[in-house]
């Protein structure tokens, strides 16, 4: 039986939902125009008056905002409330530049927790469950986000944060963890450590659900994880700019429901900025409808996806985003061809002889891009005949070439040598000096 956290909202007919979005959008535009110098300026520069925005169709008149805006206005230049109204900051890691700061009012934290409480309910997680939150706690939003969301939903939280894997596994057994929240890479590593300790996650623990995100992963990887550990693995979506982890797939594992009363989503052509029709693949653009401290208008989050507005089997009417192929930032251009690490993962995980960990290495030799993929052979697939190993390399090379349209060199390495990650896994080493 399907349960809902808030059936009235989650099953609201689409036309009513859209009316609600229009009303919230009009209020939002007035609010940001009068509360933020940044928004006033970009609206004025784009010659947009708040009165111009009446319907959802008018959304396209509004200018986009970017991660670079958050950096340029560091630390709090885009905020719409004075700092004393904030109850929390989170700060994103500055791996690709200056860090960005996100602030939350008490109500922002409540909306965030509500969003996750709905999501947890949609995958059958609630009172009686124990969730082990192995996302990092601290400036990163993953740990505290899931923590507050799970508490809101009445789930017992085991706030392990990341690292200290053997202890995590002991606690998983001793405290009957039923839900695990972490990156898919970390869960795979955890499973390896469990095997070394002689613990089977499938047989020796009560774990039944995994909530995996903070890095792109594929359907094929889901298959591997579910098969190896006997759990149901769900994708979670969210980024620090939007608060943190927010929404998950429902029990049907067919796209992530984005709560329409909190977020307005569009997909655009990243080149032209034009809105794309439902079902077309493009760059996700998000407008927050309920945030007070740091509302975002047409924010170019950079993820490549498809929107599905078909009613879901679960009865929820809110639109779904289909599996994120990758973030535009993660896309590699090798010899002029676009490559997403997710495409590589998807090919590799279809080949049973290949282990779950891989590394993409790109070099430039004599003005030519060379892409290499390192993989680990599984114990079961190891043959002691040299030819078998070489033909496995060739098989993987040809499968990758078929999908990527690019010649790739595959190199088998000893198991355990590709770095394991406690958080977001680094799957690409781009050594080109561009």
């Amino acid at each position: 039986m399907t349960e809902y956290w808030n059936p009235l909202i989650e099953r609201m007919p689409v036309d009513e939902l859209e009316k609600m979005q229009e009303r919230k959008l009009r209020n939002l535009i007035d609010y940001v125009y009068t509360h933020s110098d940044f928004y006033k300026k970009i609206f004025d520069d784009a010659d947009v008056n708040p009165q111009d925005i009446q319907t959802l169709d008018d959304l396209r008149k509004l200018p986009f905002t970017y991660k670079s805006d958050l950096r340029d206005t560091y630390p709090t230049g885009m905020f719409c409330v004075p700092n004393e109204q904030l109850v929390r900051f989170h700060v994103s890691s500055g791996t690709t530049g200056k860090p960005t700061v996100v602030g939350y009012t008490r109500n922002d934290i409540h909306e965030w927790s509500t969003s996750l409480a709905r999501a947890l309910t949609s995958i059958g997680v609630g009172r009686g469950d124990v969730i082990q939150v192995s996302y990092g706690y601290g400036l990163f939003t993953g740990g505290l986000g899931l923590h507050y969301g799970a508490e809101e939903a009445g789930v017992t939280v085991l706030p392990t944060s990341s690292g200290n894997t053997e202890k995590q596994l002991d606690l998983m057994k001793d405290l009957n963890t039923s839900v695990m929240a972490c990156t898919p890479s970390y869960f795979l590593f955890m499973n390896e450590v469990a095997n070394q300790m002689g613990v089977s996650i499938k047989n020796d623990t009560k774990l039944r659900v995994g909530i995996f995100g903070a890095e792109p992963w594929t359907e094929e990887m889901r298959g591997r994880i579910e098969e190896a550990t006997g759990i149901k693995a769900y994708d979670v979506y969210g980024t620090s700019e939007l608060s943190g982890p927010l929404c998950t797939e429902c029990q049907y594992q067919d796209g992530i429901h984005i709560w329409a009363d909190q977020f307005l989503i569009e997909v655009i052509d990243p080149e032209t900025g034009e809105q794309l029709a439902e079902g077309e693949q493009g760059e996700l653009v998000i407008t927050t409808l309920a945030k007070e401290a740091l509302p975002l208008i047409r924010y170019r989050i950079g993820d490549i996806t498809v929107i599905n507005k078909e009613p879901c089997k679960c009865g929820r009417t809110h639109p779904r985003i289909m599996r994120i192929l990758g973030r535009a930032d993660d896309m590699l251009i090798v010899r002029g061809i676009n490559v997403f690490p997710g495409q590589v993962e998807s090919v590799l995980m279809k080949i049973p002889e290949v282990g779950e960990h891989f590394m993409i290495i790109v070099d430039r030799v004599n003005e030519l891009d060379i892409m290499k993929v390192q993989i680990e052979i599984t114990d079961e697939a190891f043959s002691d005949k040299v030819n078998d190993i070489i033909s496995l390399e060739k098989k993987v090379e040809s499968a990758l070439k078929n999908v990527l349209n690019l010649a790739v060199k595959v190199e088998l390495v000893e198991k355990g040598t590709i770095p394991r990650s406690m958080g977001k896994a680094k799957k690409v080493m781009d050594n080109r000096k561009l």
């Binding site: 070394q196 680990e376 052979i377 114990d379 190891f382 043959s383 002691d384 005949k385 040299v386 190993i389 070489i390 190199e411 088998l412 390495v413 000893e414 198991k415 355990g416 040598t417």
Partner: protein, 145 residues
């Protein structure tokens, strides 16, 4: 027939410094003695094949040390250490269309040569070699060679 099968330890190793030393250190700790050894190298990686006195223990220590390792069934053929010894064995097998996947040989303490063979049909190979009165070493005798 089972007792004529020798369990060889095979492992995958990248071609980089320290790999052999690591294996040797693990064996020393576990008091495992290598009787025959070869490396098949192919560019970036190699496959190390060994006949040891305690194959199950060797498999365990290498697996626990994180190696990709397997036990492979091979044959140990005793040959007179004289010209023509190898040719006769190869002939016997080829007459029955048994293919040799790989082979390596070494000379024993007793002035015999020992040939380690991996074939595509191990049971058929045992039969034809025994029919031709060729002596196969047993796992139990590995210690003595």
């Amino acid at each position: 027939m089972e007792d004529k099968i020798i369990k060889q330890i095979s492992l995958f190793a990248e071609n980089k410094p320290g790999r052999l030393a690591n294996i040797a250190a693990n064996f020393r700790k576990a008091d495992i003695n290598i009787r025959a050894f070869t490396i098949a190298e192919a560019g970036d990686f190699g496959i190390i094949r060994m006949v040891v006195d305690k194959p199950d223990a060797a498999h365990e220590v290498l697996h626990d040390a994180g190696f990709t390792v397997s036990e492979t069934n091979v044959l140990g053929v005793e040959m007179d250490d004289v010209p023509g010894g190898l040719g006769m064995i190869a002939n016997v097998l080829s007459e029955k269309s048994i293919n040799i996947d790989y082979a390596y040989a070494f000379v024993t303490k007793t002035e015999k040569a020992l040939l380690i063979l991996r074939v595509n049909d191990i049971e058929a190979a045992i039969k034809v070699l025994q029919d031709a009165s060729i002596k196969l070493i047993e796992m139990a005798n590995i210690q003595e060679i």
